[in-house]
């Protein structure tokens, strides 16, 4: 599975590079003086072949299946470690190549037909310490468990102002892992992923009280 995935993501990268490269060549050639190599523009077919071969999802970014709904369905309270929604080898252990090979950097997995979400804490390698698969939906006995509502979206103080970070940063310090890229949950994926200094504008909200002078 790993090899297959690696092959595909390489293919995607190559395809993308090919698209960029060809466009560069084309645009340069428009300005180029006569005398350019003959037949330079005949490799365009490769692009169309690659376009046909590359899954649409890999081209367009998000498959839309990872939503806040599925995000919280895999959790017991806001911030709990999610369960594993796909099959995993039982013999998995500290062998870092397994979970991390997909969840370290993300990428499209053809077998699961999905983008792997990126872990915000790849330094923790004993993944099964906190994340376990679901092998049955049935409970041993029913539970009275309840928890608080997940943090609300759109908490900007003023229209359009950057919303504060509504969750704890513990184990989730890496904003980019969860809030950008094709594997990100649709509703919390930022449209300005190219900016890196997230906490320039977004600050954690640790209290809801307002400032009061003590003296």
């Amino acid at each position: 599975m790993m090899n297959k995935r690696a092959k595909i993501s390489t293919a995607v990268v190559m395809g993308f590079a090919a698209v960029c490269l060809s466009w560069t060549v084309v645009s340069m050639s428009a300005q180029a003086a006569p005398g350019v190599q003959e037949g330079f523009d005949w490799s365009g077919e490769k692009i169309y072949n690659r376009y046909n071969e590359t899954p649409l999802q890999a081209m367009t970014g998000t498959d839309g299946t990872r939503t806040l709904n599925t995000f919280y369905e895999r959790r017991q309270y806001p911030g709990s470690p999610p369960t594993i929604p796909h099959k995993v080898a039982k013999t998995f252990s500290g062998d870092t190549t397994k979970c991390i090979s997909c969840h370290g950097r993300g990428g499209y997995d053809a077998e699961l037909d999905a983008y792997a979400p990126v872990t915000p804490h790849p330094e923790n390698e004993n993944c099964f310490q906190c994340h376990v698969p679901v092998t049955t939906e049935k409970l041993f006995v029913e539970t009275d468990w309840e928890s608080v509502s997940p943090p609300k979206l759109g908490r900007s103080m003023m229209g359009g102002s950057p919303p504060p970070v509504p969750h704890s940063l513990q184990l989730r310090e890496d904003c980019i892992a969860c809030h950008t890229g094709p594997g990100a949950v649709a509703e919390i994926r930022v449209e300005h992923g190219s900016r890196g200094n997230c906490r320039q504008c977004h600050v954690p909200q640790v209290t809801t009280t307002t400032f009061e002078r003590n003296n």
């Binding site: 899954p55 999802q57 998000t62 498959d63 839309g64 299946t65 806040l68 709904n69 995000f71 919280y72 369905e73 959790r75 017991q76 309270y77 911030g79 709990s80 369960t83 039982k90 013999t91 998995f92 252990s93 500290g94 062998d95 053809a110 037909d113 330094e123 923790n124 390698e125 004993n126 099964f128 310490q129 906190c130 994340h131 376990v132 679901v134 092998t135 049955t136 939906e137 049935k138 409970l139 041993f140 006995v141 029913e142 539970t143 009275d144 468990w145 309840e146 928890s147 608080v148 509502s149 997940p150 609300k152 979206l153 759109g154 908490r155 513990q170 184990l171 649709a186 509703e187 809801t208």
Partner: protein, 772 residues
């Protein structure tokens, strides 16, 4: 590609519809759990130690209204530094199973009837009085737990040993760390590890002896992996009888035949001496050599007695003893190649490498548990790799307060909070602090756990009060002990939080407050005492185990010894208990300090915690001017023991041709009373199974998931086969996790124990298999 254009467009549309809903209706939620109707949505965070294992991770319990709703790792707790395991991250859900015991129940006409808790307490007190009058004080007993809070165990000991005057106090920690205690006592004269978890960041070599830390102590295991990743040349060697996740993560996995770790440890010492890797300066100054009795039996018969007779020997005699354990001879016994033994010895023997050994149930649940503890200490003593950062023979514990409540408070038949019942000076101290006549405290120990349940079966014990534990799953050779508990004229009181096979045999059930529904303290593996407040109210008429005991004690007429009010009792009990440990060797932190910090290590001297004991650089109890001082022994010297290899109590033979090994999985803790009620954990591992080697399975004709009948001389269990599952036993062994009450594997196990520690061996007995 599986995805065609149409299905993509459909799913993209669905995705964007939900995305749109989110942006059109900010705050719309799609949570799978029942949402609290609390308007604020604000969570306040309060510190507690995790309820589960002996690692003692700090958690922050998120509270909203009067309910625990979330968990974070406590970043202020040095144990786990903010990271938990899957059990810890869901620990609060263990409070909310639908079948939580909320009211007291009493057996009337064979049926359990709900009664007010005060009535149940009256019945308990009256039954105790009646039993003592009719059959004597030694016919009533208390069986507690390494999950008792420190105050729970303390008041139990005070009531039974101090007031009633019987030493019939035991705890399930006898089943999990008694060999660790006797190992410490015989090698060092004082209990509990010299090192601390910080050793993990210093050690170059880790050897895990029969210890699947990846599942049983995952947080510490991750610390070990992180240390290996950060620093070059860190090695993890897994030495075990079965291949596990820990073996997979290790740099080398070495398998030995059951019980032969004794021979392997001796062979390592043989090699260390043969190559002159001995730290002679250390050995001459800080150690002495000894031997004890051999062929010491297995305790499978009632009234089994054993007393060791230690003798001094010379180094030459010790060396002579080791000549039976050359790597070549031990290869034949253990199945570990001579090369691998030499390799292990070279790691321990290399003066440039800091070595830490970890172990838990593999070495403790062992018919020679005390011996194997001694032998691993020998390795560290011969090489002087002890009591310094990174050089650490480290005995881990499995329960959150096995150290705190059972070992430190001394809730075992021979123990007192300080010292043992056999010594008059210790009885005097207890009588004075407890405010009871000296004559009350009986100088003779009565029953260790296995013998206590045998006494219940025989009728020597008529009344037993079981708190915070589930012996009707965990006792080895379970059929005998369950039949014993069910006999007429036996009165069983069970305090618990959920119905279990143990509450099934109860005459009275008391609904207990659980974990953070009460104030209390735990003590973890590294001498760390951890206080927690009452963070949420318990349901119904639930009452803390401490308060249950106080209520009964008062009904028995001991108001003077149990005078505290309900709003102050934990602090008062702690300050009274602390008087027992008032010395630099064991001083405990005051209540006010415990309340503030995420755990405090003892000895706590002049406001400072002691991280490495017996090393004068870190431990103020050492003699001034000494470098190391093993002050548990009178002459300040640790004991190196000549202990031979002896086989298990029952080994496979022609008729019963497989080893049976039992243990745990990461998702479930002990008998699953709590973890099976946590949705994530149950859904991951809903039932137990038997791990079997693929070739054995083929010979038996079973495939993965087919039923296998496991039969011993004592009982049988039929369950699903797991082939090439999470763990893999070698040929000739099967492994069964014991958490599942549907498959009571302890009906199959043997009640043989280490004659010194009296701890049963759950890892070795003989079974045969049938395709069911």
């Amino acid at each position: 590609m599986k995805l065609n254009r149409r299905s993509f467009i459909k799913s993209a549309a669905a995705g964007s519809a939900i995305a749109a809903a989110g942006s059109i209706f900010p705050g719309i939620s799609f949570a799978n759990w029942k949402e609290q109707q609390d308007p604020s949505g604000q969570i306040t965070w309060k510190k507690a130690p995790c309820r589960f294992c002996g690692t003692g991770c700090g958690v922050l319990v998120g509270v909203s209204g009067d309910r625990a709703v979330a968990v974070k790792g406590d970043p202020n707790c040095s144990v786990n530094k903010g990271l938990c395991c899957v059990k810890g991250f869901h620990v609060v859900q263990a409070l909310y199973g639908k079948d939580r015991l909320r009211t007291a129940q009493v057996r009337r006409g064979g049926k359990m009837v709900e009664v007010p808790i005060s009535e149940a307490l009256d019945i308990i007190a009256a039954k105790m009085k009646e039993t003592i009058k009719q059959t004597g004080k030694d016919s009533v007993a208390m069986y507690g737990s390494g999950q008792w809070t420190i105050p729970d165990g303390y008041v139990a000991s005070k009531l039974f040993k101090g007031c009633i005057g019987t030493n019939n106090v035991e705890a399930n920690a006898r089943l999990c760390m008694a060999s660790a205690v006797t190992g410490f006592m015989t090698s060092f004269g004082i209990d509990e590890p010299m090192g601390c978890y910080e050793d993990i960041e210093h050690a170059d070599v880790f050897v895990t002896w029969g210890n699947n830390m990846a599942e049983m102590h995952p947080v510490l295991f991750s610390r070990m992996l992180a240390s290996r990743k950060r620093r070059k040349n860190v090695q993890i060697i897994d030495l075990a009888t079965r291949s596990t996740r820990s073996s997979q993560a290790s740099d080398r996995s070495i398998l030995f035949k059951p019980n032969t770790d004794l021979a392997v440890a001796n062979a390592i010492c043989y090699e260390i001496i043969r190559n002159d890797w001995v730290d002679w300066d250390f050995v001459k100054k800080h150690t002495t050599f000894h031997k004890g009795k051999t062929n010491i039996g297995y305790g499978t018969e009632d009234h089994f007695k054993f007393k060791d007779a230690p003798e001094d020997i010379s180094f030459e005699e010790y060396k002579e003893f080791l000549s039976d354990y050359t790597p070549e001879k031990v290869e034949k016994i253990s199945g570990v190649s001579a090369l691998e033994i030499k390799y292990l010895a070279s790691l321990y023997g290399d003066p440039s490498k800091k070595c830490t050994s970890f172990w838990c149930m593999g070495m403790n649940q062992h018919v020679r548990g005390t011996w194997i503890n001694n032998l691993v200490y020998n390795i560290h003593l011969l090489t002087g790799k002890i009591s310094t950062p990174g050089n650490s023979p480290f005995s881990l514990t499995g329960q959150p307060s096995a150290c705190g409540t059972v070992r430190e408070v001394g809730t075992l038949t021979h123990k007192l909070p300080h010292g043992v019942v056999m010594k008059e000076e210790h009885r005097k101290m207890a009588a004075e602090i407890w405010d009871v006549p000296l004559a009350n405290i009986d100088p003779k120990p009565t029953y260790h756990t296995v013998e206590m349940f045998r006494a219940l079966d025989r009728g020597d014990i008529r009344f037993i009060w079981i708190q915070v534990t589930n012996p009707m799953i965990t006792m080895p050779n379970l059929n005998r002990y369950r039949n014993g508990a069910l006999k007429d004229d036996r009165f069983i009181v069970v305090s618990d939080v959920y119905p279990t096979p143990t509450t099934d045999v109860a005459d009275v059930i008391l609904p207990a407050a659980m974990w953070v529904e009460q104030e209390g303290m735990f003590g973890n593996s590294e001498r760390r005492t951890q206080h927690f407040d009452r963070i949420v109210p318990g349901p119904g008429e639930t009452m803390s185990d401490t308060w249950q005991i106080i209520e009964v004690a008062r009904r028995l007429g001991y108001e003077k010894q149990f005078p505290w009010g309900e709003d102050e009792y934990i602090g008062k009990i702690w300050e009274e208990y602390r008087r027992f440990h008032d010395s630099p060797k064991h001083n405990m932190a005051p209540y006010t300090v415990l309340k503030k910090r995420s755990g405090v290590q003892w000895p706590f001297v002049d406001g400072k915690e002691t991280r490495w004991r017996f090393n004068s650089k870190y431990d103020p109890a050492c003699k001034p001017g000494s470098d190391f001082d093993f002050y548990g022994k009178k002459d300040g010297k640790a004991w190196i023991w000549a202990r031979p290899y002896e086989p298990a109590a029952e080994s496979p033979d022609e008729e019963y041709d497989f080893w049976l090994n039992t243990g745990r999985v990461i998702e479930h803790w002990h008998t699953g009373t709590m973890t099976r009620r946590v949705p994530v954990l149950h859904r991951a591992v809903p039932e137990s199974y038997v791990e079997i080697h693929p070739e054995d399975a083929m010979n038996l004709g079973v495939t993965n998931g087919e039923m296998v009948k496991i039969i011993s001389r004592r009982g049988e269990v039929t369950m699903k086969a797991s082939i090439n599952g999470r763990g893999n036993p070698p040929r000739g062994m099967v492994f069964v996790p014991f958490f599942d009450e549907t498959y009571k594997i302890n009906e199959v196990t043997l009640d043989a124990f280490c004659p010194i520690s009296k701890q049963p061996d759950y890892k070795k007995c003989a079974v045969r298999l049938e395709k069911a």
